[in-house]
Amino acid sequence: MRREQVQPACLSNVEPDRISCLPGHVIDQILSHLPLREAVRTSVLSSKWRYKWATLPNLVFDNQCLSVASQDHSDIKNKLLRIIDHVLLLHAGAINKFKLSHRDLIGLTDIDRWALHLTRRSIKEFVLEIWKGQRYKIPSCLFACQSLVHLELFNCWLKPPSTFQGFRNLKSLDLQHVTLAQDVFENLISSCPLLERLTLMNFDGFTHLNIDAPNLQFFDIGGKFEDIRFENTFQLSVVSIGLYLNFEINQNRLNGGSSNLLKFFVHLPHVRRLEVQSYFLKYLAIGAVPLKLPRPCVDLSYLSIRMNFNDSKEISTALCLLRSSPNLQELEVLARPEEQNVLIHPYCGEDEYCSCPIMQLRHVRIDGVSGTKPELDFISFLLLYSPVLERMTVKPIASGVTELMKELLRFRRASGRAEIIYQESL
């Protein structure tokens, strides 16, 4: 095939080629909805399309880059390496986002080289997921990159150089399966003044969480820690905390001492959505649990807690929260199955349910119950004090718990519109 001559205008059977004349940013948008491989392949379409892909703002290198799954890991590694080298070399313009997440990618030192190149191209979003192998040490050049707005790392080790001044423009930080030292963590958080979103999952190297972030709005952590303290976080609106460690409580701290719950809520006046997962409610229950918080959480509209119904302190904590959330609309309670014979605080029955406020709950979900007395008391309490309730869904831990069903039918309901849905676990 030879190069075709330009069609003379008199040939009317040639349809106009409109797409090639679209403005560059529109073409970028079209190509950005394609996987990177397909976008680069457009370079063979026509002479105008040879370099249209080269201004793509987002480069995502993932499992779709190499369609042929080869058995040979070094082969895949080499191919991936060549692809990334070539694409980065031929790319023109600013790179907005770089994501590297290939299942066969073991931490390569080439990543350091690419990171250096990217920091020179004013990269805004950097996502690195090392699926296999040990923690990858993040190169120091990345810590000097002040154009970063979003940083997402999976299976990495962060050890910034002593010259690290923080990320001036960082708004979103997502660290999962990472290792960093205690002081590194604190310095990282406090030196990113614009930080709005923080996600931390399965971290090690530090156990005390001191969160000092004035602009933080979204906070999601799950891991093993000893204590958590917020400072200056008055904008926090979505909080999800999971403590994956069933710790032994020091008996002295059990009932005396300052309440963790109080300390926790001092700096969270505007929280809208709160998720208390795993053993975090146990942590909050430490200390003298008040009947009600000094300052109600007026913005709280969604609450999800994982609770051990056999621990009356946890129930007290949950009730304190319910009393302090006048505008709560959605509630989710997940039962945490624990050894039933280890009764730290024997259940006191209806004594718990004194001073019950009228709640504005509309949707309630109870999961993992088996029909014990504490559970039934709790459900009955919810039904009695929620006049605007629309739906309650109860999912038992095992099927065929007919006692529970019978009780549910019997309970008095304050809301005439309430639907109680009993969801059989399959």
Partner: protein, 349 residues
């Protein structure tokens, strides 16, 4: 409540209209709240106070023809109603983009000029869906793209973006190669007998390349030498690079003999390709073979042969010079291993 009722009962709630002028000069009246959905129109109304009368009609960008404007307004009319569910909106959007690719391109261009981002995003996705998973021929057919790249261009997407002199030299080589191919093509078309002659000469080349083992060895040895050479190069690299800038510019000025430019290319290709086997392969290997989708297998073979031939010619030239170099003077090695490598380059100047 119909419009008429509203006009009678609550005159202050009567809909206000905006005057818009499209690319062909025609002026039309449009409900203000719908037109305001487009940021550009909104801006014109608020900051410049335009559009309130026929005389001060907002003149829309030239990409907005009357037909595209009516489509855009339909889109705005649906979406500016607040009570619609996400499902409704999604299903409306899916139906909305069911039109020919040319219309979609016109529409996205118009929506972009009006800064109507949701519509631009919707159409971009629709166009991307038309590209995804298709072969280059299918895409060319759908979008009426001219197939005006030569086979070499399809194989070698290298561009001199950074004005690197090494790439400039490479591009010049490619241009030469392309010219040669064109010549061959032209000769083919002019005379049919010539066609056969050409084929035969290519066959000859084939047998020459693939024929005896002796020949293939001949092909291999230069590559081996090149490997050794490359190791030396790499040792010198850091020092070479410091002076490489001004030196190369010197060379470009000199384009005296072909051999010199070829020779320098060899030194440079070893830096560019990072490959040990010595072949030219600057293409991006997303699954080797996928980039050749549109080419006839017979022609592709021919091209492969020609590229191999080309590479072999380069390697063989270099091999000859290597022989010269090794036999002519041992004393030269000392200047070569000198840090600025001037000795090597002077030889070619």
């Amino acid at each position: 409540m119909s419009e008429i009722d509203m006009a009678v009962i609550k005159p202050e709630m009567m809909k206000s209209y905006i005057w818009l002028q499209t690319s062909d000069g025609s002026i039309q009246q449009v409900e203000q709240e719908i037109a305001m959905f487009c940021p550009l129109i909104c801006q014109e109304i608020i900051t410049k106070g335009m559009g309130s009368s026929k005389n001060s009609a907002i003149s829309l960008p030239q990409q907005v023809t009357p037909s595209t404007l009516s489509l855009i307004l339909d889109y705005c009319r649906f979406h500016q109603v607040p009570g619609r569910s996400n499902k409704e909106r999604k299903s409306h959007d899916e139906k909305f983009v069911r039109m020919g690719t040319n219309r979609l391109c016109e529409l996205v261009s118009a929506a972009d000029s009006l800064q109507l981002r949701p519509l631009v995003d919707l159409i971009s996705r629709a166009l991307a869906r038309k590209i995804e998973g298709r072969t280059p021929e299918e895409i060319r057919e759908i979008f009426h793209l001219p197939d005006d790249l030569t086979e070499e261009e399809k194989l070698e997407p290298l561009k001199n973006i950074t004005d690197d002199p090494r790439i400039r030299l490479l591009n010049r080589l490619y241009a030469k190669k392309r010219k040669e191919l064109k010549e061959r093509e032209r000769l083919k078309n002019v005379e049919i007998e010539e066609e056969r002659v050409d084929e035969r000469s290519v066959d000859d080349l084939l047998t020459f390349i693939n024929g005896n083992d002796g020949d293939s060895k001949a092909v291999k040895t230069p590559k081996n030498k090149k490997k050794n050479r490359k190791k030396k190069d790499q040792q010198k690299n850091p020092s070479l690079k410091e002076d490489s800038g001004p030196e190369k510019k010197e060379l470009n000025g000199h384009d005296t003999c072909d051999q010199s430019s070829d020779g320098n290319i060899i030194g440079e290709t070893s830096n560019l390709t990072y490959e040990e086997d010595g072949t030219f392969s600057p293409k991006i290997d997303f699954d080797d073979g996928d980039m050749d989708d549109g080419i006839d297998p017979a022609i592709r073979e021919k091209i492969d042969r020609e590229v191999e031939d080309f590479a072999r010619r380069i390697n063989s030239d270099w091999a000859e010079r290597m022989q010269d170099f090794l036999t002519s003077g041992r004393e030269r090695t000392s200047t070569l291993s000198a840090t600025n490598g001037n000795g090597y380059l002077r030889r070619h100047a």
